[in-house]
Symmetry: C2
Subunit: 563 residues, 2 copies
């Protein structure tokens, strides 16, 4: 009879234990959890702050009792493993309340210690109104503090998933929320061109968003930033990032990888073959970056947990590495991303191209149709799809899941162009936005047209480049790039002589569809230096708006238009 | 300069013409449309009946004028091509209003004549209150007739996509609607086990649904069915199916395939290389069935149209065949399917297995979380994924698009199990329902457990088989299979002796998750003939409910429970 000890009773640990039981009814399974709860819904924690999750007890999915009766698993809470004694194959456990120390033997050990919120060493981070969010106890403490103090002004430090979700849920609860992010943007899975849409949404919904500035200090009523800015804050939430919990592993002589997380092999074994490790504490192989990375996501943790159980019982493990798929709700917008973004691909020295399309998420006639913003990143010259980002009020996650599947199956832009997805007017369009992006990409790859990107337009406008806007006059009147020339697509053929042949021509419309037709017409009429403005006016307005406000700079358009 | 003539100005024809223009600014493009409109949104027609689309003019996406000014395409409506003169490379065109006959020459010809609604040769089908739905004129006529007569009772004949959408939109408009389908079920992309959920939804929403009965005759106030049933009907809509419009092609000596549609090669050329054909009038290669089929869907038509333009201009055509992805809203439910269903796979003699899982479409804590019903069909022994069906109040189409992608990329259940999809509590679960289905399938393939299917349960109950229900007592009390024995999962290990070893044991819970844990525990305790009841009680209630009502038969449960 096998005896398995699991360290960490949330996500990875709990999943591993349950699968072990299903594979082996006789195994003795003991699970130690430092905190008072096992198996809670980490990803749902922030939703308690807005009342979307009304009762914090509902965040708990299992209890030690239900582990016992349902799975015959001995789950012990408030029990911190303080040492792994590899030679004796035992762990030393200390009860967090009684201080009592006991020893438990194992045949196989599974480490799932997770990662802890980073608390920077800055003045005031130890004050009692400063919080982090890792578990149910944390979120209850934070919620109680806000309610008891009736805190009106809350500062959230960090623009990652947790920071954004905490900020959003507090804002939905009617609080004044400042969100501070050190990097120039929130949510690093997204490229800077796409994320501006989310920056705008945060600001539109009343969040005081500050990017490119870091926390310097905390006082009982304010936070100070590196720039010297002071912000009133009755409560501060630190969501800067997480650090893998490796201390126990290190003490036991287990190898820590270059990323600072626990090193594991393809079967999630540490350098001690009797000790497995899973979840946020380990480093994993990124199948597109071809190197080890840290990736604190629930889906991969669950797959790792299952793989550990399978390997223990001789079932071959499939380790496809990770690609990093994620999604988040940001007020009215859904945002999702998978694979490499353009920034990372360039940092890795990959040769990539990207296209950005704006297309209706449903047939335009349907009442809930909204523009979907979709960016596709692919390798040149192979056309291999490497990543995608989707943002919109509709179903962004669906498009990203299609791309995640395609990436995993080594698909190309040609495959994507031909994908036969389900269609009805309520759910999509006959050519879905992902198909359209692939069509643009294959046309670009074939050299049928050239493009400029939204982030390049400002300097074109400032240089007085020739920008041809082919929208209708009424649209043009409601906002246009400064200096742009308006020739509606329907007049272009007869008025083409007005378009100069001796300078580069940049063609724009609302969302780059009509302009593409114009580009092709110009290309076929002897124009040799024509480019389509990717994203066009709608994309440019969304790209520029937040940056213009934040930097108090002169807009490049006569007025914004987000329709 | 090339001269291209396009026959048919909707969907395929319009798309081909636009792409040809983008590839060749000089080409002369003439498009003939028999009806008064070009380029309308076919798939949105039924939504005009409920007012979701308030103005029928909005169904028109382009006009002859906009084709002219935007694309320099000569689109001529009310112009029926009555002959193709292949030797002279001309077409003979008759104006539908003036009767005037003209001739137009072509270098290349594109046929996109579509398919026409089938009107059966039965008494009364020629009465003035009998309608079909193909175009904007049809839907306006139908709508006007309903309003003018204030028709309260409407019969829709045919349970395909158009029939269901017409029925739903008329019901939403407050009419009494009877839907009659000759086959034993509506919506043939779905298997009979899955479609019962939609049958129930139609009935729940007040549609008088009659399956397995055919139209016999129509009188001015009633319809008669084969069974002898008479139904009051002030208006009758025939949506039995469509027939490819091949007459023109046949007259011109173009080859018609075995399916009755126009035969084309891999580049969508007919047997005359100067004549291409696309859309509902052609037959296409099914990449899973390995044979030609008819598939009247908008997405494939658009891809064919593009391929035709590309081939004309020397751009290599990718023809991956079709897999048949579709989706539909049925009142509160979204339903989507891709690839082969189990019925078709069996008819083809393929060796397949299917799993049916019910899992939350989002994290259960989220207010809009709902069960998603998901069926996966895969080949044995290869594990190659062949098809899937998803039905739920949430995002069914997303799951099907993932599977459509996987099928196209030749993925297996092992690939699906490992797919890293985007996750946040608002959009999905850490292991998405598609991953879960693949886990069930791989466990089944590995022989780790056995299953019985929802459609097999009735005879098990009737035979008095030993059915073990492992739900909690309170759940069991709210409805259970007749004769089932209740031992909650938490008590199973201590009470296992109560479970007989000498008879087959069928284990059920609410949605087959707890029962799976119980099955594994029994398997490991010397039970050799245990099966998990796929879909379990929730699935069985949904499967049985409509059939029980329609056949007025005795339920196999003490009471239904759909929660």
């Amino acid at each position: 009879m096998k005896k398995v000890v699991v360290i960490g009773g949330v996500a990875g640990g709990a999943s591993a234990a349950a699968r072990i039981r299903r594979l082996d009814e006789q195994a003795q399974i003991v699970m130690f959890e430092r905190g008072p709860h096992v198996s809670f819904s980490n990803c749902s924690l922030p939703f308690y702050l807005s009342g979307v999750v009304a009762d914090s007890k509902k965040l708990l999915m299992m209890t030690p009792e239900s582990f016992e009766v349902k799975h015959n698993i001995d789950a012990r809470v408030n029990s911190e493993v303080i040492a792994i004694n590899r030679e004796e194959k035992t762990v030393t456990v200390q009860h967090t309340q009684t201080g009592e120390v006991t020893t438990e033997s194992y045949d196989k050990l599974v480490l799932s210690p997770g990662a802890s919120p980073i608390v920077p060493n800055l003045p005031g981070t130890d004050l009692p109104h400063v919080f982090t969010v890792r578990n149910v106890v944390d979120i209850e403490r934070l919620h109680t503090a806000i309610v008891e103090r009736d805190a009106q002004n809350i500062a959230v430090i960090g623009g990652g998933f947790i920071g954004i979700e905490v900020a959003e849920n507090l804002r939905l609860a009617g609080r004044n929320v400042a969100l501070v992010e050190f990097a120039p943007q929130i949510l690093t899975p997204f490229d800077e061109d796409m994320v501006q849409i989310l920056h705008k949404e945060m600001v539109d919904k009343g969040v005081d968003l500050i990017v490119g500035d870091g926390l310097a200090n905390i006082t009982p009523t304010t936070i100070g930033l590196n720039s010297g800015t002071e912000i009133n804050a009755d409560i501060v939430v630190l969501a800067i990032g997480v650090r893998p919990e490796t201390m126990l592993a290190e003490k036991a002589g287990l190898t820590i990888g270059e990323t600072g997380a626990i090193h594991v092999n393809q079967n999630y074994q540490t350098n001690d073959p009797n000790i497995y490790a899973v979840g946020d504490a380990i480093e994993v192989y990124h199948r597109l970056m071809h190197k080890k990375v840290r990736l604190a996501l629930a889906g991969p943790a669950q797959r790792q947990a299952r793989a550990v159980a399978d390997h223990m019982y001789g079932i071959p493990v499939t380790n496809k590495g990770v690609i990093g798929s994620s999604s988040i709700q940001v007020f009215d917008y859904a945002a999702a991303a998978t694979g490499l973004n353009e920034r990372t691909a360039q940092q890795l020295g990959l040769q990539v191209e990207a296209v950005y399309v704006i297309a209706p998420d449903k047939v335009g006639l349907m009442p809930s149709s909204n523009p979907l913003h979709f960016k596709l990143i692919y390798e040149v010259p192979t056309g291999r799809v490497l990543g995608a980002q989707a943002i919109g009020k509709g179903n962004a996650d669906k498009r990203i899941d299609v791309i995640a599947t395609l990436i995993t199956m080594n698909g190309t832009i040609e495959d994507l162009k031909e994908l036969e997805l389900s269609y009805s007017p309520m759910f999509s369009t006959a050519k879905d936005v992902v198909n359209i992006a692939a069509l643009v990409a294959t046309n670009l790859m074939a050299g049928r047209f050239k493009q400029v990107r939204v982030h390049e337009v400002r300097s074109l406008v400032e240089q007085g480049a020739y920008i041809l806007d082919v929208r209708e006059r009424a649209e043009f009147a409601q906002g246009a790039l400064k200096g742009a020339v308006n020739i509606p697509l329907g007049e272009l053929r007869e008025r083409m002589a007005e378009v100069p042949k001796d300078v580069p021509v940049y063609v724009s419309c609302r969302s780059a569809q009509r302009s593409y037709n114009a580009v092709m017409a110009l290309n076929h009429n002897g124009y040799t230096n024509v480019a389509n403005v990717s994203g066009s006016f709608l994309g440019i307005c969304l790209y520029e708006y937040y940056q213009d406000q934040a930097q108090q700079r002169e807009p490049i358009m006569t007025q914004y238009n987000f329709k």
